[in-house]
């Protein structure tokens, strides 16, 4: 706990991403894009139609987040910006990673095996940030440099965030096919037997 925390700077190189260890704590610095359900749908639709995206996702940190933003004058400010449930993006993330090559996905709850596999193939990690801890997360957002696809609504737009000391983030799925969630699930399966016994279930 008293080690100096590791700082990751965006854009992320594949070498840095592949060097991250499962369970390690890191902090983010640089540009982070928010993107959840609608951004995934839209980005893949743009690709299909050959349309140019408003941001470059290569090597980026994509944050599964629909923040509360406040506009003062012409400037946006992040009020609360915790993660959303990543598993909602399970069906689109493998293709998103293949086509756009982000370096890190930041979210909560983890993602399914096809995403773990895509992360291994293309060099990407999943960084877990504590769900609901939205004020703490917003403190790591120093400024907001813009918003794209605002017509999708405040939670669903792409917010361009400039971060510093953004975290703590736990490397919960690495770029080598490992997942903390899979490890926990294996233990939960074992523990389930004790829980069933306690409840008098066969």
């Amino acid at each position: 706990m008293n080690k100096m925390p590791k700082i990751l700077k965006t854009p992320l190189s594949e070498e840095v991403v592949r060097g991250l260890k499962l369970g390690e704590t890191v902090y983010m610095e640089g540009v982070v894009y928010t993107g959840r359900d609608e951004v995934h749908l839209h980005a893949l639709e743009y690709l299909e139609k050959g349309k140019k995206l408003p941001v470059e996702f290569k090597g980026c940190a994509l944050f599964h987040c629909g923040p509360i933003m406040r506009k003062t004058g012409d400037k946006w400010q992040a009020v609360a910006a915790g993660p959303t449930t990543s598993s909602r993006m399970n069906s689109l993330e493998p293709l998103f990673i293949e086509k756009f090559r982000p370096g890190a996905i930041i979210g909560k709850g983890g993602m399914s095996q096809p995403t773990v596999d895509a992360m291994k193939t293309y060099g990407c990690v999943y960084l877990a940030i504590t769900g609901g801890a939205a004020v703490l997360a917003a403190q790591g957002i120093k400024s907001v440099s813009g918003v794209e696809w605002f017509e999708l609504g405040m939670p669903e737009a792409i917010w361009i965030l400039n971060t510093e000391n953004f975290g703590p983030l736990t490397v919960a799925m690495d770029a080598h096919g490992n997942s903390l969630y899979a490890d926990v699930n294996a233990k939960v399966k074992e523990n389930e037997k004790k829980a069933r016994q306690k409840l008098g279930l066969a």
């Binding site: 877990a128 609901g132 969630y181 926990v184």
Partner: protein, 290 residues
């Protein structure tokens, strides 16, 4: 006399208090959970949660960006003349701008977002008439991550107690890391399909350190909670001791041929708030007095 504007102002203040500060029982359970975790990963998750509670309070900021959809429970005096519904609706609109709340309410098919958390049947208000002289409004700001894990089971009477336990355990396992554990579980037993779900949500309005007055129901609450906390899903599903902070059950008599069971899942941020508006316009916030 209480005016529509009084209701509106009280609603704004109620929503502000509710999204910024947790009720005492939930906060206490979270601090206990933090103290009980020993491994580094779950300890850090709980520390972040507890730190975030303090920061939200200090900055008068919503603790979570998902300020939910607004589910209200309004209890009115018998001779209530003021338009409480309009006061609540306008209060939600104003709070969305002023607190601020995230504009979450969208059309279910077109997904069009009006931007003010007001739309067809939203905010949703459950009505009751009570024998008191004050208007009481309770709100739950219910986030989607946990709500999406809620379930209904239409069990058969022969499945009985075992069936109930199987269903709840299965639902918790299926939800896993998704609902922002450590969770609070509300369970509705009996009634009919809709009543079981309604009771499941209402169960979340009771403080989690109060057991049901019926000892048999209270025992089921304790047994299920203990078993769920043996699973090791842990804070944020990253492993650890605390998977569930509290579990409340409410019941209603049901048809002899059926056994409906509703489960409403609440994330660690168990936000609920109550305001009482007295005939002279005075207000009190019993959930947020400390």
């Amino acid at each position: 006399m209480v005016t529509e504007e009084d209701i509106q102002n009280a609603t704004v203040e109620l929503l502000r208090k509710t999204v910024v500060k947790l009720p005492a029982d939930v906060e206490e359970a979270l601090r206990k959970a933090y103290a009980s975790e020993t491994d580094e990963v779950p300890r850090m998750q709980m520390k972040t949660i507890v730190d975030n509670i303090d920061m939200a309070l200090k900055g008068n900021t919503p603790m979570c960006q998902d300020t939910g959809v607004t589910i209200f429970y309004a209890s009115l005096p018998k001779d209530c003349k003021v338009d409480v519904e309009k006061g609540i609706v306008e209060g939600v609109r104003k709070a969305t701008k002023e607190v601020p709340l995230r504009p979450n309410a969208v059309h279910p098919l077109t997904r069009k977002n009006p931007g003010d958390n007001v739309g067809e049947r939203m905010p949703f208000i459950n009505w009751k008439v009570h024998g008191k002289d004050y208007i009481e409004i309770t709100v739950m700001t219910k986030g989607a991550g946990s709500e999406n894990m809620s379930q209904l089971a239409m069990l058969t009477p022969t499945q009985g107690l075992k069936g109930i336990k199987e269903f709840i355990l299965g639902a918790v396992l299926k939800a896993g890391s998704n609902p922002c554990p450590p969770t609070i579980l509300g369970i509705g037993l009996g009634g009919s399909s809709d009543i079981a779900m309604k009771l499941a949500k209402e169960a979340l309005l009771r403080p989690i350190n109060q057991r049901h007055k019926d000892p048999e129901i209270a025992k089921l609450e304790t047994d299920l909670l203990e078993a769920i906390n043996m699973l090791g899903i842990g804070p944020m599903g990253l492993g650890g001791k605390t998977t569930c902070l509290g579990l409340n059950i409410e019941y209603a008599y049901c048809h002899t041929a059926s056994l409906p069971v509703g489960l409403n899942v609440q994330c660690w941020a168990g936000r609920r708030g109550t305001v009482r508006i007295y005939p002279d316009g005075r207000t009190a916030y019993p959930t947020h007095e400390r």
